[in-house]
Symmetry: C5
Subunit: 107 residues, 5 copies
């Protein structure tokens, strides 16, 4: 799993019913302190995340299929949760402040 | 999943019935804004994509086998969709303009 | 599998019962002699590890699901054990000294 | 999947019946135009490839086990096909010329 | 699969019966000619390898579980065989000379 910032979205007509209505998020992997790290990926949203959110991402096919209850879905990268805060060596290096996170988490 | 440009094709006699007639596409992974990023890969086309298309790629064996309805196929990298547009921090950084995409999506 | 130092924690409301109460650890991969190496990842604790511990990490979905007895859990990276010592070309390059490790290992 | 040149062989007594008699090939991953790219890997031959061939490689356990009809085999990287030609942005950048490829493909 | 040198061992109390008594080896991935390449990993020994051996490593969960006959084991990286020799473009670039390899291969 890794930390990422949601930096955009991708629109592509994928012909797989399970993905209909799902949002494809552009994800920039981050170091704990928030610096970009590694290649950008595209993930399927599972938590109502949007541009500007810091998120927790899992990048494994079976994990994604199980989360989406899609045993046959062509999924790999899933946004698993919106990060509330990150503590690095005893210091808060990130704290979510921008949106009402509880409301968003009800899918 | 990742964004890529289709930059070519590979022809190789693979002795696996499920792959007969499939096109092997050369894929150049991209950053959201379209710069090359990461190593070139070869994917199996699932959407009618061709050279010049920007595509969405999934790189996981089970996802590929399910998409191709090939439970025993030796597949990993699949071109899942042709990208219509990419929005990065509120700006359209890519918009598909070259071909009639709906027509192509009917396999 | 790889060696890592636990350098922090991440708090994120993940809506998956199996992960309730689990700690998400920030992991800095290391060379055998303890230098940082590779991108930071986030793992699920399985051993009572905390900030400052050197740990053994497995990064594969099925391994993680089996360890957590979570056949449907969206897991990938798991902290498998706290390292007692590392021997590199005949020399001890790391020895755990900070905490009472046996006590912690009883979940 | 990726393109590679076969650059050598490895001999190692692996105690797994399914791999008996199989050749372990040293594979150098390539860019489409044939420059080295990424770390060398070792693959199991499935097509009669040898040193000097340009090949198509799949690097995923289930794909490999299915190709070798080895549901329990410890396999991951498989040489899937010998490349006939590579077309990059409309130009042939590689064409197989050295051996009688059809003959070799009969296992 | 990849080539590696065994450069050390890791001792960590992992609470998984299947791994009891197994040796955790520090593995330095190598180019065919023996130069270090890529990040160090930790693998479970399956062949009696020790520090100084050049080995063949598979890095995939199902392959590892099958080799260890551990359908539920949290394994990923396995030392599959001790390398006898490596031939690169027609030349022997490595030849095992140090130990009586046949004796070791009887687990």
């Amino acid at each position: 799993m890794f930390l990422a910032d949601v930096i955009g979205t991708v629109v592509s007509p994928i012909q797989t019913p399970i993905l209909e209505g799902k949002t494809l998020l552009l994800l920039r992997p981050l170091t704990p302190s928030g610096a970009p790290s590694g290649l950008t990926r595209i993930g399927i949203d599972h938590t109502g995340a949007g541009v500007g959110d810091r998120v927790l991402v899992v990048d494994e096919g079976n994990a994604g299929r199980q989360l989406l209850a899609a045993p046959n879905g062509p999924v790999k990268t899933i946004v698993l949760g919106i990060v509330d805060f990150v503590e690095l060596e005893g210091e808060h290096v990130y704290e979510e402040q921008h949106r009402e996170s509880v409301a968003r988490l009800t899918p």
